[in-house]
Symmetry: C2
Subunit: 423 residues, 2 copies
C-alpha cells in the first residue's frame, strides 16, 4: 500500500506560554523523522491568520539546532493571534478560504495548538473539510496557562506558570518576613486567571508548613468578603508577624464585578488603571494600617521559561510529538491528552480525546480544592498540583542571559496571491 | 603575643536582597574558622534593633549545613529593619546603649551589612567606641540593590536584581512579539530605583541586537518628556511591530513629581494607587491606542534568588569573608569593596574603603551611561553592567520548589534585662 506524502500546517493560537514552543518542537522534530509521509511543515505566521492570508512560514528552512532550541524558548516562535473563527453558519467564507490555501499548498495535516476556542475551531475545520471532500487530518494540541481544558489531566503552559507563582511567593514571603518588624507587613501578589483559580491555587504549593507564605489566597471562585478577609489578614499578622497574599485577577465582589475594575472606585475612593493587587493592598492599609508592597507579574509569569517546570516542558513536547504520531496513525479530529496514572510517585501517559468532546467545555476548579474558609487550598488540591511543578529545565545561558532562539521564519512563496479580508 | 578572643555582632540593615544572606554566610563561616580569635557570632534580631533591645541571636546554635544554606537563601535570615541611628548630638543614648549591650556580651567585633546609612552608622559607632575607650572593631559590609555606594565598583544585591530585570524583560519581550499582530503591542515593566536608574539600565542588557526588547527605558535621571516618549513608542511599533518598555519607579515629570504619584491624576484624569507602569501604559493607550500589558515586579525582583547572578553571590560571600579577615588583621572603620581590574574578561578583587569616605556619599549613574535620546544605555554602560549578571547559581530544589533555610534563631540569654525605648 502506498501512502501519499503531504505537507503539514501548524499554528499557535491565543495567549502564548513558556512551553508552547516545546510543543512546536515536538511537532516539527517528529514530522522530520517521517519524510516519507510528511513533506514540509508550514507554520501560520501569527497563527490562523497566516493560513487565512496565505502568509505561511517554511519551517524546513530552519536548522535542526534552531528547531531543537524551540524546546527552551518561551512565547510563540511563529507568532500567535487572538482570532476566533466564527461558526460555519456565520462565516463560511473563512473555512472555504482555509481549504483553498491548504489545497494550494498540498496541506494534508492541520495541527492547531491552543485552548478551548482553538480546539473548537479544529473540530469545525475537520467537519468542514470532510463535508467538502478535502482530505485533511485535524489534530488539536492543548495549550493554556488557565488549565481549563476538559478531559486532559492538565494543560501545557499551566505547570510553568504554577511553578513561577509558587517560587515567587515563597521568595517574596521570605523578603517580607525579614522586613516586617519595622516596615512592610503585607505583600500582595496578583496572578492570572480571570475565570478560574488554578494559577492562584498554585501559589499555595509554597506553603508546606503552618505559617509559611502565602497565608491567604483570593480565588475568583470565592466572592470577596471584605470583613472576613480583613479579619484573616489581622489574625495572620498577629500570629506570624506578616501576611503574604496571592490574589487572582478574577476576584469579584458580591455583585459579580471584578475588584480590579472601576466598581472599586466608590468603595475605596480611588479610581484604578487596572490591577486588583493595589486595590487589596490599599484596602488593608486603610482598614488595618499595615504597610504594604504589591506586585503584578502579568506576562512575566507565563513567559518565565527560565523557571519552567520540567514536567511541563516534557509534556508540552510529548503532546506535540503525539499529535503527529496520531495523525500518521490515521486519527482525525482528536487531541492528545495527559492521563495521570498516579499522584505519588507521579506518573502520566498520553491519551486521546475527540475534539467534539473538548470544544466548548471549560474545566472548573473543584470546590473541594478550596479550603473551607475560602483562603487556601486543600490536601486534594495539593495532591493534584504538586507534580505539575516538579523538575527544573533550565535554558542555556550566554553572558548571564538565557539564549532564546529567533527563527528565520522564511515565507512560503504565495500561490494564490488573492487577498482575503479578515472578519 | 596573646590575642584576646571576643564575640562578634552581625546585623542586616535596610531592604533585603537575594544575596545578603550570602554575606552573612561569609561572615559566620569565616568566623568559625577562627575560634581562637572569635568566640560566638551573635546576630541582631531585626538588625540593629536587636542590639539596642538586647535581642540577640546565637548563631553558634545553627548547624554548619544551615549556615552554608544561607548562601542560597534570599532575604534577611535574622530579620532586617529600617531604623537609622540619629547623629551623636541628637541621640547619644543609642550609642551608649549599643556599647552597654556589646560590653555585657563581650562583643569586640561589629559587622554591619547594609547601604549608605548603615555605613554611616558603622562609622559613628567606631568613633563613639574609640572615644569611650571601648575596644570595638567596626567593619561595614556593603549591600544594596540600588548600587549607590561609592568607591566599591558595585554593591552586592544589585547584580541579581539586574539579572532578574534583564531576563524578565527579554522573556516578556518575546511574549509580546508573539501577540502583537492582533493583541498586545506595548508592554511596560516597572522596576525599583527611586533615585537612580541602575536597575532600569540593567534591563537594557537584554537588548543585544537592533530591535531587541527592551526598546525604551525610562530613567529617574531623565525628566519624563511625554511627547518625545510617545513619538518613540510609535516609531518602535511602526518599525518592530511592538514596544517593550522598562520604567524606573523613580521617573519624574518636569516639576520633579513622581509620575507614579497623585500628581498624575490631573494629567491623565486618573487617580493612582501607586505604580508608574500603569500610568505609562494608560497614557500610551489614550494617546496612541495600542493595547497594553504592564507588570510591577516589586519585591519579586530583589528576592529572586532562583535567578541570582553567580557573580553577585560570589562577591556577596567574599565581602562577608573579607570583613572578618580585615577585622582579624587589625583593620577598623573600614568596608571591604569590589575593585574591578578588567571589564572583559571580567576580573575583580577585594579592596578596602574607610567608612568615613563611604558614609553619606551617593554614587549616581553617570550621564554618559544614558543614550543621547534618553531612552537607552550606552556601550560604556553595557561594559560596566554586563559582567555583574554573569553566572547562574541555582539553589537546590525539592518537589519543584527552591529549598531555602529557616534558621533556628535561638535567643542569647539576656544579661542586662533593662528596657530600651527605641526612638
Amino acid at each position: 500500500m502506498t501512502v501519499e506524502k503531504r505537507n503539514a500546517f501548524y499554528a499557535q493560537s491565543g495567549g502564548v506560554t513558556a512551553v508552547i514552543n516545546a510543543s512546536a518542537c515536538g511537532v516539527i522534530e517528529t514530522a522530520r523523522r517521517h519524510p516519507d509521509r510528511i513533506g514540509k511543515v508550514y507554520a501560520g505566521r501569527n497563527g490562523i491568520i497566516g493560513a487565512l492570508t496565505e502568509d505561511l512560514i517554511d519551517t524546513s528552512q530552519e536548522t535542526d539546532a534552531d528547531i531543537a532550541a524551540l524546546r527552551h524558548t518561551p512565547s510563540g516562535a511563529f507568532g500567535s493571534c487572538r482570532y476566533k473563527l466564527k461558526g460555519l453558519d456565520k462565516n463560511r467564507a473563512e473555512y472555504e478560504r482555509l481549504l483553498e490555501v491548504f489545497q494550494a499548498h498540498d496541506i494534508g495535516y492541520f495541527f492547531y495548538n491552543g485552548g478551548g476556542d482553538s480546539q473548537d475551531t479544529s473540530n469545525k475545520v475537520a467537519e468542514f473539510s470532510a463535508a467538502a471532500g478535502y482530505p485533511l487530518t485535524c489534530i488539536g494540541i492543548p495549550k493554556t496557562v488557565d488549565n481549563d481544558l476538559p478531559i486532559t489531566d492538565n494543560c501545557p503552559g499551566f505547570g510553568s506558570v504554577a511553578k513561577y507563582v509558587a517560587v515567587s511567593i515563597r521568595e517574596a514571603g521570605f523578603d517580607v518576613a525579614s522586613m516586617a518588624k519595622t516596615s512592610t507587613k503585607v505583600f500582595v501578589m496578583e496572578v492570572m486567571g480571570r475565570h478560574a483559580g488554578w494559577i492562584a491555587a498554585a501559589g499555595g504549593l509554597a506553603a508546606e508548613a503552618e505559617g509559611d507564605p502565602p497565608h491567604l489566597i483570593l480565588f475568583p471562585e470565592v466572592t470577596f468578603d471584605e470583613s472576613a478577609f480583613l479579619a484573616a489578614v489581622k489574625r495572620c499578622v498577629d500570629t506570624w508577624g506578616y501576611c503574604a497574599i496571592v490574589v487572582s485577577e478574577g476576584l469579584r465582589n458580591a455583585d459579580g464585578q471584578f475588584i480590579a475594575e472601576a466598581g472599586t472606585r466608590d468603595a475605596f475612593g480611588h479610581a484604578q488603571l487596572g490591577g486588583v493587587a493595589p486595590v487589596i493592598a490599599e484596602l488593608i492599609k486603610q482598614q488595618l494600617g499595615y504597610k504594604y508592597h504589591w506586585a503584578v507579574a502579568d506576562y512575566l509569569q507565563r513567559a518565565a521559561r527560565h523557571i519552567a517546570s520540567g514536567t511541563d516542558v516534557e509534556q508540552a513536547y510529548a503532546l506535540g510529538r503525539a499529535a503527529v504520531e496520531m495523525a500518521l496513525a490515521g486519527d482525525n479530529a482528536v487531541m492528545p491528552t495527559i492521563v495521570r496514572t498516579s499522584d505519588a510517585p507521579y506518573a502520566w501517559e498520553i491519551g486521546k480525546a475527540a475534539l467534539g468532546d473538548v470544544a466548548n467545555v471549560e474545566k472548573k476548579m473543584p470546590r473541594e480544592f478550596i479550603a473551607a474558609d475560602g483562603f487556601g487550598i486543600t490536601p486534594a488540591c495539593r495532591r493534584y498540583l504538586a507534580p505539575l511543578i516538579t523538575g527544573e529545565d533550565y535554558p542555556p545561558y550566554r553572558d548571564g542571559l538565557p539564549v532564546y532562539v529567533r527563527l528565520r521564519n522564511a515565507p512560503v512563496p504565495r500561490i494564490l496571491n488573492s487577498e482575503f479580508k479578515l472578519a
